[in-house]
């Protein structure tokens, strides 16, 4: 009887002993806790930024912005690219653009020459000196397409670039870590790394203006109204009228980015 009791106590002690198995288990669990840092989802951060950007009188949920560009109306003066740089303090150097204008010259035999000297800010001065027959020629303003399905937003590792409820893709330059993944992911070359802030930068549709009921700078200065800005969905919008009156196309539709910049009279050579 007594022996049995002693045996039981011995067994119990054996069980309570710090066995290797127990040690390793505790050890592994301790490590596991190291692997779970306090995670704040990007979503949370974005909410704060939203509140900071928008004033009190602007409700982004009531809008959905887009742009229409009529190729036939563009004269390649480059006022839009110039106004954009001034309005948004984009560096003057010819490597950083939020918007620019391309010139297409298509010769006999489908030879295409494209250029955009300094983003067309100084216009296109050099005349055609080649002895070839020009089939057609036109100007194409380019800008961030403010995609509904933006690859740049998808790839940003920290959520510094995001899509607002009114459909504009913005960058929080104080939050951007400068990894440039978004620049790689943008099919339109619409992004650059700002040489001073070292953060990604791009067209905001002049968010500071549109949230004050003003037009984006490039739309405001366009002498031929080649650029139309407005609501994508509201009936009274000039953009909806533009979409009704023209046959439109978007750039690189096969990538399924669902751009909100619509081109009328776009040529097949434009990429």
């Amino acid at each position: 009887m007594k022996n049995e009791k002693i045996q039981k106590i011995k067994d119990k002690r054996k069980k309570e002993k710090v066995t290797r198995r127990n040690f390793v288990r505790t050890f592994l669990f301790t490590f596991a806790s190291l692997l779970t840092p306090p995670i704040v989802l990007a979503e949370e951060k974005i909410k704060k930024t939203r509140a900071w950007i928008l004033g009190e009188n602007y409700n982004p949920y009531e809008h959905h912005w887009g742009m229409g560009i009529d190729i036939n109306k563009c004269i390649g003066c480059g006022r839009c690219a110039d106004a954009c740089k001034k309005e948004n303090v984009v560096p003057d150097e010819p490597f950083f653009f939020r918007t620019w204008v391309e010139r297409y010259r298509i010769y006999d035999g489908n030879q295409t020459v494209i250029d955009s000297p300094n983003g067309a800010i100084n216009g296109f001065k050099d005349q055609d000196q080649e002895n070839r027959n020009l089939t057609r020629s036109f100007f194409v303003p380019k800008i961030c397409n403010q995609c509904e399905n933006p690859p740049c937003v998808q790839v940003c590792p920290v959520g510094a670039t995001f899509i607002t409820p009114d459909g504009v893709v913005l960058v929080d330059d104080e939050y951007c870590i400068g990894c440039r993944y978004c620049i790689q992911a943008c099919p339109y070359g619409a992004r650059y790394l700002h040489p001073e802030t070292k953060a990604a930068d791009k067209c905001t549709f002049c968010y500071h203006r549109i949230s004050q009921d003003l037009l984006p700078a490039c739309v405001e200065v366009c002498p031929t109204q080649a650029r139309i800005f407005g609501e994508v969905k509201k009936k009274a919008s000039p953009l909806v009228r533009f979409l009704r009156m023209n046959k439109v196309r978007v750039l690189k539709p096969d990538l399924n980015t669902e751009p909100k910049v619509f081109y009328a009279n776009l040529d097949m050579e434009v990429k």
Binding site: Q184, G189, P195, K271
Partner: protein, 398 residues
């Protein structure tokens, strides 16, 4: 600001065709080439180690610990080039704290931490535990304490405990193989998932990355083993060398086939981008892709090792020489593979109408000097690791 402008202005004259104006600055430079190169070595070295533990390939036993320590040394350095290339290295921790769940890059922190903590360190610890305890008993002073701390104050060297060590390290290796695949396959995914870039966007990318990683890791361990053994005044184990070279050879054949498949597939599908990519491959990328990556880094070593396999009577001296030279060529080839992926993917415009150039700088955070430093650093770490945790298997057996 002034620096960037001075760097970019002369490039304007070297552009052919039309590129978007924002594309003149090439965003992922040499540092981003080094990152996949380093992680590839980590994954490859670990796969070689796993051959011993999981697949019981006894011949490569002498390189088991060398492989593990090599993987560790390179893994420690792997995030540094990424950090140095960021516009804001000071904010890099945001990737860990506020990850954007839809971003492949945001997973970096998790994949890296998992691999370092749950796989590599644990496996090394279990494998070395007995030795750490022995050393902590043998040595004096600082070293005694270092080994005691490294062994996490464990003292149990009973047969039971050792059996558990072996079991644990086997289980960790089994988990480690998919983890190593994840570590490098994931790097491939970062590139392969960019639909905007036809040079990168390929479902094969993670797999090609993986096999080139295995090739490079095995060849690196082969090199380290071949250099360090004579330095220690020991004999090279020819059986081990033959086996490692064989595995490198097989991995190269798979890697070569995958790359050939990718190449043929692109040409056969002949999509919108094929013209500009063809122009790039036959022009600006010809030397680094066709000559260095394909000919020097792949075909010549493949032919050389095939020669050894056909003529089994080749004297050991010649075999050693061929293995050594092949392994060096493979390293050069794989580095150039990374170069061709990363830099090649940025040399053509997404307008598919023109090509740009990449000019490396010498000084500066993203310059050549820092990059060379980052390639030398893992070897310094490895040297320290070899001193701290001697991986020589002869001693252990005796």
């Amino acid at each position: 600001m002034q620096e960037i402008v001075e760097h970019l202005t002369p490039l304007l004259s070297e552009i052919t065709g039309y590129i978007y104006p924002n594309e003149i600055e090439l965003h992922w430079g040499l540092l981003v080439v080094i990152y996949p190169y380093l992680t590839g070595l980590v994954a490859g070295a670990f796969i070689l180690a796993s051959l011993v533990k999981v697949f019981n390939v006894r011949e490569v036993q002498p390189t088991y610990r060398i492989s593990l320590l090599t993987a560790l040394a390179f893994l420690i350095v792997a995030p540094l080039p990424l950090l140095a290339h960021l516009g804001h290295p000071d904010k890099s921790f945001e990737i860990f704290l506020t990850p954007n769940m839809s971003s492949a890059m945001a997973m970096f922190g998790f994949v890296y931490a998992w691999y370092l903590m749950a796989v590599l360190l644990l496996e090394i610890w279990f494998d070395y535990r007995q030795d750490l305890i022995t050393w902590s008993r043998e040595k004096q002073g600082f070293k005694k304490w270092m080994y005691r701390i490294l062994s996490l104050f464990s003292t149990d060297t009973s047969e039971d405990a050792l059996r558990f060590d072996r079991k644990a390290s086997k289980i960790i290796t089994v988990i480690g193989i998919p983890s190593a695949f994840l570590l490098h396959g994931y790097v491939g995914f970062i590139f392969g998932s960019i639909k905007a870039n036809p040079w990168w966007s390929s479902v094969l990318m993670p797999i090609v990355f993986l096999f080139s990683a295995i090739v490079s890791g095995i060849s690196l361990v082969l090199l380290i083993y071949m250099i360090i053994t004579p330095l220690r005044g020991k004999e090279l184990d020819m059986g081990c060398l033959d086996k490692i070279a064989s595995y490198m050879f097989y991995a190269m054949i798979v890697d070569f086939s995958l790359e050939a498949l990718d190449f043929i597939h692109r040409i056969y599908e002949s999509e919108e981008s094929i013209k500009i990519l063809g122009e790039m491959v036959s022009g600006k990328l010809f030397t680094s892709l066709i000559v260095v990556q394909l000919l020097i880094g792949m075909i010549i070593p493949l032919i050389a090792i095939t020669f050894i396999k056909l003529f089994r009577q080749t004297p050991p001296e010649l075999r050693r020489l061929i293995y050594f030279v092949s392994a060096i060529l493979v390293q050069v080839g794989i580095f150039s593979t990374r170069w061709n992926v990363v830099i090649g993917g940025q040399l053509f415009s997404k307008s598919f109408s023109g090509l740009t150039v990449y000019k490396m700088t010498f000084l500066g955070l993203e310059g050549l000097l820092v990059s060379i430093g980052l390639l030398v650093l893992p070897f310094l770490i490895l040297y320290v690791l070899f001193l701290m945790l001697p991986p020589w298997m002869e001693k252990i057996k005796s």
